[in-house]
C-alpha cells in the first residue's frame, strides 16, 4: 500500500516515493543515480522542513488523527516494563476503549490509563474507536484509586474524539461517570501526569485528564468540541472544520499560552507516525522527569497545588473590572 498522506503532504510523499524508487536503482550501481539520490534527499529534507514547520491548526488536527499515529498501546509497550492490564468497572462491564494497568517505568512502579483507538480496522471497531462508555470511566476511577492507595504515580494518555455519544452511554450515566472522575482526580493523593497523545476531545478526554502536569504531544490537539462539531454549529456546515480549528485555539502552543497546558513533547518532523520509537523515547524522558519532580512533594501539598492550579484556570472580568487570567488577545480586544 502507498503511504497514507494528507493533502498538504502530497508533494512531499510523491518525492519520497520517487526517492525510494531511485534508491533501488542506485543499489544496481550507476554513479548518476547515486548523485540523483543525493540531490533528491536534500530536496526532500528542505520540503519536509517547509511542510511541517508551520503547520496550521487544521493540519495539526489531521496529523493527530493519522491512521498510523502511535496509540496508547504503542507507548505502553515502548516505555512500560511488565505491564499488567486491569479490567472491569466492578459494576457493569469492561470497556475496551480504555486500557488501564500497572507497570514499571525506568524502575519505578506506575499506573497507566489511556484511551486506545486501535491500530487495525478490526481493533478500531473492537475498541469503539477509543470512544469510552461510562464503564470505561468507572474502570479508570477504580485503577486511579488503586494508584492512590499504593502511592503509584498515575500517567494518563488522552486520545479520543470524545465519550461515545450513544444511547447506552446516556442510559448508564456518562455525565455522572465523567463528573465523578473530575472530582476524584482533583483530590487523588498521588502524582498525576496527563499527556494528550492524539485527539483530546472534550469531556471524554478530560474525564481522564485532570492532573498535576498537563502535557501535549506536539501534533496533538485538545478542544472543547471537535472542529467539525464547531463548524456545524457556527456555519451549519461541518466541512468548514478548517476555519473552526483556527478559532478554537486547540493547539499545544495556543493552550500553553492560555495556561491550560504545561508543556509540549516534541515529535519528529512530520509527526509521531514517522518515528513512533523516537516519539516514545521523547515521551518517556519527559514523563520520568515530570514524575521525579512530583514525587518529592508530600501528598497534602500535591493535592493543594493541583487544586489551586485547576481553580485558577479561566479568563474573566471581576466586579472591579479587572481581567483575571491571561487571554491570548491584546487587551484592547477584551470585552467590553
Amino acid at each position: 500500500m502507498g503511504k497514507y498522506a494528507f493533502e498538504f503532504e502530497r508533494s512531499l510523499v510523491d518525492l519520497e516515493e520517487r526517492l525510494e524508487f531511485l534508491r533501488n536503482e542506485a543499489a544496481d550501481g550507476t554513479d548518476e543515480t547515486a548523485s540523483q539520490v543525493d540531490q533528491l534527499e536534500k530536496q526532500i529534507e528542505k520540503l519536509r522542513e517547509i511542510t511541517y514547520s508551520n503547520l496550521t491548526p487544521w493540519q495539526i488536527v489531521q496529523l493527530s488523527r493519522h491512521p498510523n499515529r502511535p496509540t496508547t498501546q504503542h507507548y505502553i509497550e515502548s516505555i512500560i516494563d511488565d505491564f499488567v492490564e486491569l479490567h472491569g468497572d466492578r459494576v457493569f462491564g469492561d470497556d475496551s476503549a480504555i486500557i488501564a494497568g500497572l507497570g514499571r517505568m525506568d524502575g519505578r512502579s506506575v499506573a497507566v490509563i489511556g484511551q486506545q483507538k486501535g491500530r487495525t480496522a478490526r481493533e478500531r471497531v473492537q475498541r469503539n474507536f477509543g470512544q469510552p462508555h461510562p464503564e470505561g470511566y468507572r474502570k479508570v476511577l477504580r485503577v486511579a484509586k488503586l494508584a492512590e492507595k499504593c502511592n503509584l504515580p498515575l500517567i494518563t494518555l488522552v486520545d479520543t474524539q470524545g465519550a461515545f455519544p450513544g444511547t447506552a452511554s446516556e442510559e448508564r450515566g456518562i455525565s455522572q461517570a465523567i463528573a465523578v472522575n473530575l472530582a476524584a482526580f482533583s483530590s487523588l493523593r498521588t502524582p498525576i501526569v496527563t499527556v494528550t497523545i492524539g485527539e483530546g476531545g472534550s469531556g471524554g478526554a478530560l474525564g481522564i485528564g485532570v492532573a498535576d502536569r498537563v502535557l501535549m504531544l506536539q501534533n496533538s490537539y485538545y478542544s472543547v468540541i471537535t472542529p467539525e462539531g464547531c463548524a456545524s454549529i457556527l456555519f451549519g456546515d461541518s466541512s468548514r472544520a478548517e476555519e473552526a480549528a483556527s478559532l478554537l485555539k486547540l493547539t499545544a502552543e495556543d493552550l500553553t499560552g492560555l495556561g491550560v497546558v504545561d508543556g509540549v513533547v516534541s515529535e519528529p518532523l512530520g509527526g509521531a507516525n514517522r518515528d513512533p520509537h523516537w516519539t516514545a523515547w521523547e515521551l518517556k524522558k519527559t514523563l520520568v522527569a515530570e514524575i521525579d519532580a512530583l514525587v518529592v512533594s508530600d501528598s497534602e501539598e500535591l493535592v493543594e497545588k493541583r487544586y489551586q492550579k485547576i481553580r485558577s484556570i479561566g479568563v474573566f472580568m471581576t466586579e472591579q473590572g479587572e481581567t483575571i487570567g491571561s487571554p491570548l488577545q491584546m487587551p484592547d480586544l477584551v470585552f467590553p
Binding site: E170, L206, V210, V224, L247, M317
Partner: protein, 298 residues
C-alpha cells in the same frame, strides 16, 4: 438588592445563542403551548409558575423567577453580580463573541448565565445559585465557572447547604479549552465542598446538557429534576447521527434518568420550595440536636 429589579422586564425573551432542544416561553398575550399545542394565556402561565395549565409542561424560568419561587421573601442577597465574561480567544465565528455577550446582557439585565447569593429556604440558610438559559444558552465559560466556584466556597465559609438550579446548553464554545476546563474547576470545588461535609442539592431543569451535566450538576448529594427536563451529555441530534436512528420518546428526559438511577426525585415546580426546605432541614438541622428525649408515636 430588591428582587423586582431581577424581573425579566418587557424585553422579548430571546432563545439565547444556542438552539437547545428546550422549548421557549411563548410570546404575546396568548399563544399555543409548545408542548401540547393548546391555547395558553401568558397571565395564566405566569400565575401557574410557568407551567402549562393544560399539559403541565414546565417552561424555563429566569434566574429571578426561580429565586423568588424557592427562597424566603426578601432573604436573597446576591454576590458577584458584576463578574462577567471576556473574550480570551478573540473568537469571531459568524459574529464576534463580544457581540454575543453584549446582546445577552441587553436582553436579560444579567451579566452572566448564573446568579448566586445567600438566601433562606423555609427558614434554613443556604447558598443558592441559578442558571438562566436566556444568557447564551446558559453555556459555561470562565465567568460561569468562577461564579459556581464562588458559590461553593461561600457555602463552605457559611457552613450552609448549597442549592444549584442547573440549566445549560453545554460548554461555551467561544472560550475554547478555557470553557472545558471549567468542568474540572467546578468539579474540584464540589469535591472540596463534600470533604467539608456541606450538603449539596442540585435541581436539573430543562435543558441540562453537555459540560454542566458532566460536572457539578451531577455531583450533588441529592439530585432533583423538574418533570420532563432534557438532561444528558450528548445532544439528541448528535446521538441520532451516531446511531443512525431516531431516539425513543422520552429519551434523556427526567423520567428516563430516574429509571436509570441518576436522579433522587422528580419534583413539580409547585412543590419545589417545600421539598427543598424539607431536605435541607434533614441534612442540616437548623438548630443543634437537643438532648435526647424519649419518643412517642406522632
Amino acid at each position: 438588592m430588591p428582587l423586582s429589579s431581577w424581573f425579566p422586564s418587557k424585553k422579548p425573551q430571546g432563545a439565547g445563542e444556542q438552539k437547545g432542544a428546550a422549548k421557549q416561553v411563548p410570546d404575546g398575550i396568548w399563544s399555543k403551548c409548545a408542548s401540547c399545542n393548546k391555547i395558553i394565556y401568558q397571565k395564566e402561565l405566569r400565575a401557574d409558575l410557568m407551567v402549562c395549565p393544560q399539559c403541565g409542561h414546565h417552561y424555563q424560568m429566569t434566574a429571578a423567577e426561580r429565586i423568588e419561587l424557592v427562597s424566603d421573601p426578601g432573604s436573597f442577597e446576591e454576590y458577584g453580580a458584576g463578574i462577567t465574561s471576556v473574550d480570551p480567544l478573540g473568537f469571531e465565528g459568524t459574529k464576534p463573541y463580544v457581540n454575543t455577550l453584549e446582546r445577552a446582557k441587553g436582553r436579560t439585565d444579567l451579566n452572566e448565565a448564573v446568579v448566586y447569593g445567600t438566601a433562606s429556604i423555609m427558614d434554613s440558610p443556604v447558598v443558592i445559585g441559578v442558571m438562566d438559559f436566556r444568557f447564551v444558552g446558559a453555556s459555561m465559560g470562565s465567568a460561569v465557572g468562577e461564579k459556581i466556584t464562588l458559590a461553593a466556597e461561600k457555602a463552605i465559609e457559611r457552613k450552609c447547604p448549597l442549592v444549584l438550579f442547573c440549566a445549560s446548553g453545554g460548554a461555551r464554545m467561544q472560550e475554547g479549552m478555557l470553557s472545558l476546563m471549567q468542568m474540572a474547576k467546578t468539579s474540584a470545588v464540589m469535591e472540596r465542598l463534600g470533604r467539608n461535609g456541606i450538603p449539596y442539592i442540585s435541581v436539573l431543569t430543562d435543558p441540562t446538557t453537555g459540560g454542566v451535566s458532566a460536572s457539578f450538576a451531577t455531583l450533588a448529594d441529592i439530585v432533583l429534576a423538574e418533570p420532563k427536563a432534557l438532561i444528558g451529555f450528548a445532544g439528541p441530534r448528535v446521538i441520532e447521527q451516531t446511531i443512525g436512528q431516531k431516539l425513543p420518546k422520552g429519551f434523556q428526559r427526567s423520567e428516563f434518568l430516574l429509571e436509570n438511577g441518576m436522579l433522587d426525585q422528580i419534583v413539580p415546580r409547585s412543590e419545589m420550595r417545600e421539598r427543598l426546605g424539607t431536605i435541607i432541614a434533614h441534612l442540616a438541622p437548623p438548630t443543634p440536636v437537643e438532648a435526647p428525649t424519649s419518643g412517642e408515636v406522632s
